[in-house]
């Protein structure tokens, strides 16, 4: 090249050297610029990552700090005498008698005995408000389970009403004007007295993990919603994974490439972008109104979410199938494998990690979905823990929404706690995705 230039233009050596020096100067200058741009870009990148991390830290710290109080619950320890004449005066041990007995009177009397000077009806009522309505329920459960307890005196740890629990935790304070808080000065004094006597203590809130929803914050738990979410996710997975993978395999490996399959492909991509509430409306119209499936059931919720998840799974699976090198297909075909054998023996196993990742992403989306479930009645107030996919249920994000909507102050902490449970679910699912991917991934 240089030879040709030299012979053509007759460039003297000097000029050539000058030009070379000039060129290397220019390169050096442009290099400087390039390095600066690179450094700048790296700084932007670090800034962006830092910002994202900061947001996550703020998010998590607010959720955790406001949610942590929900994990403890104040309890009062009382020696309750299970009086025969209150529970079962005739001694029949009849089941309905045991269920309908006045257990409230038993616990109230026990608490009132702690303050013999409280005599007026109004004061008595104010004093017994310290106890949760769950206290009587707890005794009822114990007695119906084991009637032989009647007549004995038991030392019981009973839940304190949510407002007093908040006072115990320092959320409600004496500084607030008395008329602005739900706990009066008198009640605070009684509570303080009980505390001095050492019978109020703060314990781990097991109720939160073993109960379903309740109107009383101290009795409300997440288990109902968690089970609802679990059943819903099972239905979603059972429907969307096989259908999605089959659709992806057919479209990617078998379908002819013509206008029809193109239209299908465009529509799948569009479906992935449809607002989720539309799927809820569809579920309401088709599954509930047309097919008459039960309302508020994880079955219908799972079906709706499966519809919503399908496009995600199909798109991810197709991408994973596309990523399998064609040489593997050729190798198998060349050996005389049928197309089905090529897919099941070679392509699908190689695409499995990608398919699973897509599925878990879809499932995680579905787990956090609220809007479509509102349409099919999973927003109902349900106090029973669902035992099957046709029982009325709610799900974790809807539970968060319900509690966030509740006026009781104690639900604030429970809302955050429910979010923490939801996030834990998500983390478990993602960990599962990583594990499955590791398991299926071929290291060669």
């Amino acid at each position: 090249m240089t030879d040709a230039v030299m012979t053509d233009v007759q460039t003297p050596d000097q000029m050539r050297r000058d030009r070379a020096a000039h060129a290397s100067d220019a390169v050096r200058r442009s290099l400087k610029k390039r390095y600066a741009a690179e450094a700048r870009f790296r700084a932007y990148g670090i800034g962006a990552v830092g910002l994202a991390l900061a947001c996550i830290v703020i998010l998590f710290s607010t959720i955790i700090s406001s949610g942590l109080p929900a994990f403890t619950q104040s309890a009062i320890t009382l020696n309750v005498e299970l009086k025969q004449d209150v529970i079962d005066p005739e001694g029949t041990r009849d089941k309905s008698t045991l269920i309908n007995a006045n257990y409230r009177k038993l616990v109230f009397d026990t608490l009132l005995a702690e303050f013999p000077d409280v005599t007026s009806r109004r004061d008595k009522r104010a004093l017994t408000a310290i106890l949760s309505s769950g206290a009587a329920y707890q005794i009822q459960q114990m007695v119906t389970a084991d009637p032989s307890l009647i007549g004995q005196t038991l030392e019981l740890s009973l839940p304190v009403a949510a407002d007093f629990d908040l006072y115990n935790k320092g959320v409600i304070t004496k500084e607030t004007d008395e008329s602005d808080r739900r706990v009066s000065n008198q009640q605070m004094a009684w509570f303080d007295t009980l505390k001095e006597r050492g019978i109020i203590e703060s314990e781990f809130n097991t109720t939160f993990f073993t109960n379903a929803d309740s109107r009383e914050p101290e009795l409300a738990g997440i288990l109902g919603a968690a089970m609802g979410s679990l059943f819903t996710m099972l239905v979603t997975l059972a429907l969307s994974f096989p259908i999605g993978v089959c659709a992806a395999v057919y479209l990617e490996e078998f379908a002819p490439k013509n206008r029809l399959t193109q239209i299908i492909e465009v529509n799948i991509n569009n479906l992935a972008a449809v607002p989720s509430i539309v799927f809820g409306l569809l579920g309401l119209a088709v599954f509930i109104n047309f097919f008459g499936l039960p309302r508020s059931a994880p079955l219908v919720g799972g079906m709706v979410l499966a519809l919503m998840t399908l496009p995600t799974i199909i798109i991810a699976s197709r991408a994973a199938l596309k990523a399998v090198p064609p040489s593997i297909r050729e190798a198998a075909l060349g050996l005389g494998a049928s197309r089905m054998q090529v897919v099941t023996h070679h392509v699908l196993p190689l695409a499995m990690p990608g398919i699973l990742t897509g599925t878990i992403i879809g499932m995680a989306q579905a787990l956090g979905e609220t809007a479509p479930l509102l349409m099919i009645g999973m927003v109902a107030f349900i106090v029973d823990i669902p035992g099957s996919i046709t029982d009325p249920a709610t799900v974790l994000p809807v539970q968060v929404y319900l509690w966030a909507d509740s006026p009781e102050r104690a639900f604030v902490a429970r809302t955050s706690a429910a979010i923490m449970v939801l996030l834990t679910f998500l983390i478990f699912m993602n960990a599962l995705a990583v594990l499955l991917r590791k398991k299926f991934e071929r290291r060669w």
Binding site: P256, S327, L335, G336, Q341
Partner: protein
């Protein structure tokens, strides 16, 4: 164009027929045309491939030699827009007739590809896969035997016999290609098609594969596409020269490289193009 083809086929078939009268024709192809959509990739190819011989297909890139090779085991079927016309007979049976099961055809006509493409499984599984899906062997002993035989024939046994459970993709390029040849042998095909089997390999690995091809000739009919004229000269008994979708010339390898009849063949083998 048609005239040249005519004269070619007349000239070509005469000497070969006399020289190889005793040899069986394995593939008998007449007027093979291949279209990719609107584009025609092969024009009226008439070519016979004889049993237990190595036939080399040479020619510049895009001349249709790989396309022709892929018509022989219907690998072109996997390409949606590809259409094949003409007569292609294997042992006297038209392989494009409806009665032919393509799976069975490919068990009879094996293929080795340009890039070594072992399955991402163990060496053992790579070999065992074919016999297993075709039901050639079902018991563990039979499969073990096929694996050993195939690897031995592909002169790979000594190198891998102690690590059959290791991934096939962990071998070197040349070993991988020999593994692919062993995999093709394992289903006991009659013909092995090789699509530039050495283009991704270094000279030493290439030499080994060429040796192997020569040994395999006793048991198999081999059709090899190659870019390297030296390779064609070294391994093949007959050579077919393709140019722009035409079969220009076919004949004994020695003759093609010493006294080509067509000017284009002359130009190609002397390195004037390609």
């Amino acid at each position: 164009m048609g005239e040249i083809d005519m004269s070619n086929s007349v000239q070509v078939t005469a000497p070969v027929a006399s020289a190889d009268a005793a040899r069986e024709t394995k593939f008998h192809t007449r007027g093979v045309q291949v279209f990719y959509g609107e584009k025609q990739a092969l024009f009226d190819v008439d070519l016979d491939i004889y049993e237990n011989e190595v036939t080399a297909l040479i020619g510049p890139s895009g001349c249709g030699k790989s396309t022709y090779l892929r018509t022989l085991n219907r690998m072109n079927d996997t390409i949606d827009i590809c259409r094949v016309k003409g007569k292609i007979e294997l042992d006297g049976t038209d392989i494009y007739s409806d009665k032919i099961d393509v799976v069975h055809l490919r068990a009879r006509v094996g293929m080795v590809f340009q890039k070594p493409n072992p399955f991402p499984k163990s060496i053992y599984e790579n070999i065992a896969y074919g016999p297993r899906i075709h039901g050639i062997a079902t018991s563990k002993e039979d499969i073990d035997q096929i694996v050993e035989e195939s690897l031995t024939k592909a002169s790979l046994w000594e190198e891998v016999k102690d690590r059959l459970e290791e991934p096939g993709t962990g071998l070197s390029g040349g070993q991988q290609q020999r593994l692919c040849i062993a995999r093709a042998i394992a289903v006991q095909p009659e013909v092995i098609l090789m699509d530039e089997p050495c283009s991704a390999l270094d000279p030493i690995a290439t030499a080994r594969i060429e040796e192997l091809i020569d040994e395999l000739r006793d048991n198999f009919t081999i059709v090899i596409v190659t870019h390297s004229m030296q390779q064609a000269a070294r391994v093949s008994q007959r050579t077919a020269f393709f140019h722009l979708g035409d079969l220009v010339e076919v004949g004994e390898t020695g003759k093609i490289f010493t006294t080509p009849r067509d000017q284009r063949t002359q130009d190609y083998i002397t390195g004037r193009f390609g």
